[in-house]
């Protein structure tokens, strides 16, 4: 142990340094910052502080203790200011590039929300939003290492002197401002639940998209980096100092961030919200891993709990919306067929909806399997679809809609393997069967009377054994056929079958019955007409004319009244 004399000298010179830098005492002390100056000055000051600390432990006389106490307080007040100053000097908002995620999503929002764009967005987000349970945390350096070193030097001494609360306060208040600033750059808004309820869903969709991107950056980069900074400065210096400082910095912003997702999870349910809710659910679900890592202390439990709650609410909302949707479709009372026989808008909507759902198959399966709907409607086998097609027999317009569903399913499933898989081959066979039957029914209902004109019976004169043909009957036949065909041509040209393959199929099935029948009829009986007067009134069309005319069917256009005739 050193002789007392040296102690006193050491103390006094340290005290002098401390007093020199007392900002309450001198203007000069206020204006200059120690840590902005040269290293020598900094070290000298820190050593002085250490000296005072040391002497406090050994001071026995109350006078000495008092002096040491006093000096310590002045030093701590000074160090607090220095600490704050260094922090402020390095709170430049993080560069934009560092803040962006590795995902390739462009910054501008999609104005065009066509299903294609939605698909693209979704695919891309699926790409960066993987189901791997690993974390994608990426910490960046928020401060240069020499600043961190200085901060640590100060923190060490403040904690040793029992001034850790002041330290936490200063740290929290400055860093929180920095985080707020980054939040603004990321476009994270302060919206109340009321605000969100009043917004149009399309606008909310954009905000959700933006939020998902921002939240990933916040959790994986921003929060993680703040945590790292706390560790760099405070780790090992005192009981959970780094955690206290981290929470002081991050708790408010984190709550603000997740409040948005919470507000969305609470919003009123309606079918069009399903997909964005699923997006939000998936994004949050992915982030959960990272949230658990970043917010791993006891004091951050409330944040973890909140995100789990939000996730569960989003899942509930998704299930609820799907249930609602199911009910709405089944209860759809509309029996009015669309003029032109094209696809009912509801059907189209349902199909688009279902196709998009199939993209979310994995999530939806998890959500539904974890909590399957109950009710007599549902079979116990999750793989069998439960639609009862009995009502198709009655051929109500709804049934026709469902036919078209079958049709689209049949012909669009090539492009959507998930959907095909979900629907299942069994169901598909059933639907296809129904569709075939409907096609047959169509044929029957439309063409049987037309073809009836081209039959043999009734044309031959009764009783006569010779090949006498009733000319008048024959003329009637031709006239009727022409009129009927023209009528069918006129109306069914305006019918639209959107699916080209089906259109072809139906036309072919018409042709293969109609054309041979007509040609054969023509072949057998034209001579009888041509031998009479004005044959052109009766034989208006050649076989080729009819063939060509059939090509007009189901195109959805009005055609001229007269079927094109090839010149005789």
């Amino acid at each position: 142990m050193e002789p007392p004399g040296n102690d006193v000298v050491a103390f006094e010179s340290a005290e002098k340094i401390i007093l020199r830098w007392d900002s309450t005492a001198s203007e000069d002390a206020r204006e200059k910052m120690i840590f902005a100056g040269d290293r020598y000055e900094i070290d000298r000051y820190l050593q002085a502080v250490d000296e005072i600390q040391r002497s406090m432990e050994f001071a026995t006389l109350s006078d000495d203790q008092n002096k040491a106490n006093s000096a310590i307080q002045i030093a701590m007040a000074r160090l607090e200011d220095e600490f704050r100053n260094i922090l402020i000097a390095h709170t430049n908002p993080v560069e934009a590039e560092s803040l962006t995620d590795s995902s390739p999503l462009p910054e501008e929002d999609y104005e065009d929300d066509s299903p294609l764009t939605k698909d693209l967005e979704h695919q891309e987000s699926n790409g960066s939003c993987s189901y791997r349970p690993t974390n994608s945390i990426r910490e960046i350096d928020l401060m240069p290492s020499d600043a961190i070193y200085d901060l640590r030097c100060i923190a060490e001494r403040m904690i040793l002197a029992g001034y850790l609360r002041e330290c936490i306060q200063v740290y929290g208040s400055v860093r929180k401002s920095a985080v707020d600033s980054s939040f603004r750059k990321l476009g994270i808004e302060k919206l109340s639940i009321g605000d969100i309820q009043r917004l149009e869903w399309e606008i909310l969709e954009t905000k959700i998209r933006r939020w998902i991107r921002a939240a990933k950056v916040c959790v994986r980069i921003l929060f993680a980096s703040e945590k790292k900074l706390c560790e760099q400065i405070f780790e090992g210096l005192g009981t959970a100092m780094d955690d206290a400082c981290f929470m002081e910095t991050i708790k408010g912003p984190a709550i603000q961030l997740f409040n948005f997702a919470e507000a969305i999870s609470i919003s009123r349910r309606s079918p069009e919200k399903l997909f964005k809710i699923l997006d939000l659910h998936d994004a949050l679900s992915d982030l959960l891993v990272d949230i658990e890592i970043v917010f791993d202390s006891k004091s951050s439990e409330s944040i973890r709990v909140q995100t789990v709650e939000i996730l569960s609410r989003l899942a509930e909302a998704a299930r609820g919306i799907l249930s609602e949707f199911e009910n709405a479709v089944l209860r759809e009372p509309s029996k009015v067929p669309v003029p032109g026989g094209t696809i009912h808008p509801l059907t189209r909507y349902v199909m688009n909806y279902i196709s998009l759902i199939s993209d979310y198959k994995q999530t939806m399966s998890e959500l539904i399997v974890s909590k399957p709907s109950t009710g007599s409607r549902y079979s116990s086998d999750p793989n069998t679809p439960d639609m009862d097609f009995a009502e198709l027999e009655s051929q109500t317009p709804l049934a026709l809609h469902l036919i078209w569903i079958a049709v689209i399913l049949q012909f669009n499933l090539e492009g959507s393997p998930e959907l095909r898989e979900m629907v299942g081959d069994d169901c598909l066979r059933k639907l296809t069967g129904k569709f075939r039957q409907a096609a047959t029914n169509y044929q029957r209902s439309t063409w049987v009377t037309v073809l009836h004109c081209l039959r043999d019976e009734g044309l031959h004169v009764k009783g006569s054994f010779s090949s006498g043909v009733s000319k008048s009957a024959l003329r009637e036949r031709f006239k009727t056929f022409n009129a009927m065909f023209e009528e069918v041509h006129r109306t069914q040209s305006t019918w639209l079958i959107p699916d080209t393959q089906l259109r072809e199929e139906l036309r072919i099935s018409v042709s293969e019955k109609l054309i041979p029948a007509y040609r054969s009829f023509l072949g057998r009986f034209r001579s009888h007409i041509e031998s009479g007067r004005h044959p052109e009134n009766y034989i208006k069309y050649s076989g080729e004319d009819i063939e060509t005319a059939v090509l007009d069917f189901f195109e959805g256009y009005q055609v001229s009244q007269h079927i094109r005739r090839r010149s005789q």
């Binding site: 106490n69 006093s70 002045i74 007040a77 401002s177 408010g252 409330s302």
Partner: protein, 388 residues
């Protein structure tokens, strides 16, 4: 779901100001004089009675306990109980809720309750703000408590913390009355000579947008909140009254929270129109009056929040500050005694807060959750009903 039990309802129907059964007896149209109470009526009567009982208990508090943390926690407990009972009523009466006008009343209630959610969030922020002030006082305690010798250094430390505390409080008061002070940008500010020249940063900015207002929110919750007329009550078998009661409870509880806890644009001038005909109206109106009285007292007019503990913090800090200013060194034993007294006083306030704020925060979250859950369930069942 269990039907909430009641105590001796059949015997004490006549005791209430305006029991449902007595109203039905008054009804000209209803000639069922020898009417036996249905389980639905019993349930609804019980609801009225228990709401009244709970608020009577809250109202019986001494004025020094009113708006304290423990009292607020009791208030929230009362809300949760009423909410659960109401939820049960809705559950047991789903069929009736789908018919007009009940579907409208119930949907209105849920709209009001959603507005309460933003209040819950604002209150959560406010509790955080109180915690910040509390931390300043913790420093004071750390400096002055249990020291073998309280030297000049400790006093200066305490003083500094008290100044920070006062600035924090002032900041909050000012921001409620002026447009400035929100989100101050940071930067070195060398023009001021004060040792805080590096700028004092409000460590907490509200998590709500600049134009969110607690006062407006309360107005929205209480908007169009009128008691149903007798014929409406009878036509809905008393359900309209239950909805009105719950709406009123929600309104009052949110109002009391805003009164107590700091939040953005607190304003207590929302009106409470309800006639005293309802059993529970008496205690609620009495509480309302008392709280309003408190807010008008001279020393509380500019309070950031009427929470007793905030007032106590302010008083303690003020006394301590004054005391410290009169301390000269070397400190006399007398002075030292006074300091110890004040420190002890402060310690009590601090401990009360420390033990009470976290549970309070959790309770506010619980209120949030229950409101959401009740609403989701309720809207679902109405939605389903509409399609049957």
């Amino acid at each position: 779901m269990p039907v909430t039990d009641y105590q001796g309802a059949s015997a004490s129907f006549t005791n209430f100001g305006r029991s449902l059964l007595s109203m039905r007896r008054d009804q000209v149209h209803s000639m069922e004089a020898a009417h036996e109470a249905t389980s639905q009526e019993i349930e609804l009567e019980a609801f009225q009675k228990q709401v009244a009982e709970r608020f009577n208990e809250l109202s019986s508090v001494d004025s020094d306990q009113l708006l304290s943390v423990p009292w607020i926690r009791k208030l929230l407990d009362v809300f949760l109980c009423c909410q659960e009972q109401f939820r049960s009523i809705l559950f047991n009466n789903t069929a009736n809720l789908n018919k007009p006008p009940m579907d409208r009343y119930v949907t209105e209630y849920f709209d009001r309750s959603v507005k309460g959610l933003d209040v819950c969030n604002a209150i959560r922020d406010g509790i955080e703000q109180i915690k910040q002030w509390q931390k300043q006082l913790e420093i004071v305690l750390c400096a002055l408590e249990n020291q073998r010798c309280v030297g000049e250094g400790q006093f200066r430390r305490a003083k500094k913390a008290l100044i920070d505390f006062a600035i924090g409080m002032l900041d909050e008061k000012e921001s409620n009355t002026s447009v400035a002070h929100r989100n101050r940008s940071f930067g070195r500010n060398n023009t001021q000579n004060d040792h805080k020249s590096l700028g004092h940063f409000r460590s907490l900015s509200w998590s709500v947008s600049r134009n969110w207002s607690a006062a407006r929110q309360l107005q929205a919750i209480g908007n169009n909140l009128v008691a149903p007329k007798n014929n409406e009550i009878a036509a809905t078998n008393g359900l309209a009254l239950a909805v009105f009661t719950m709406s009123y409870v929600l309104y009052f509880v949110m109002w009391a929270l805003v009164a107590a806890i700091p939040c953005q644009d607190r304003g207590l001038q929302t009106h409470f129109y309800v006639t005293r005909q309802f059993v529970w109206a008496v205690p609620i109106l009495s509480l309302h009056e008392r709280i309003l009285e408190e807010s008008k007292k001279r020393d509380r007019r500019n309070a950031c929040g009427l929470l007793k503990e905030i007032h106590e913090m302010e008083k303690c800090a003020h006394h301590m500050n004054e005391l410290i200013d009169t301390v000269h060194f070397p400190i006399t034993e007398e002075k030292d005694g006074e300091v110890k007294l004040r420190v002890h006083e402060l310690g009590l306030v601090y401990d009360g807060l420390k033990n009470g704020l976290d549970p309070l925060e959790r309770q506010v979250r619980e209120v949030f959750h229950r409101i959401v859950r009740s609403r989701t369930e309720g809207l679902d069942s109405i939605g389903r009903g509409n399609h049957e």
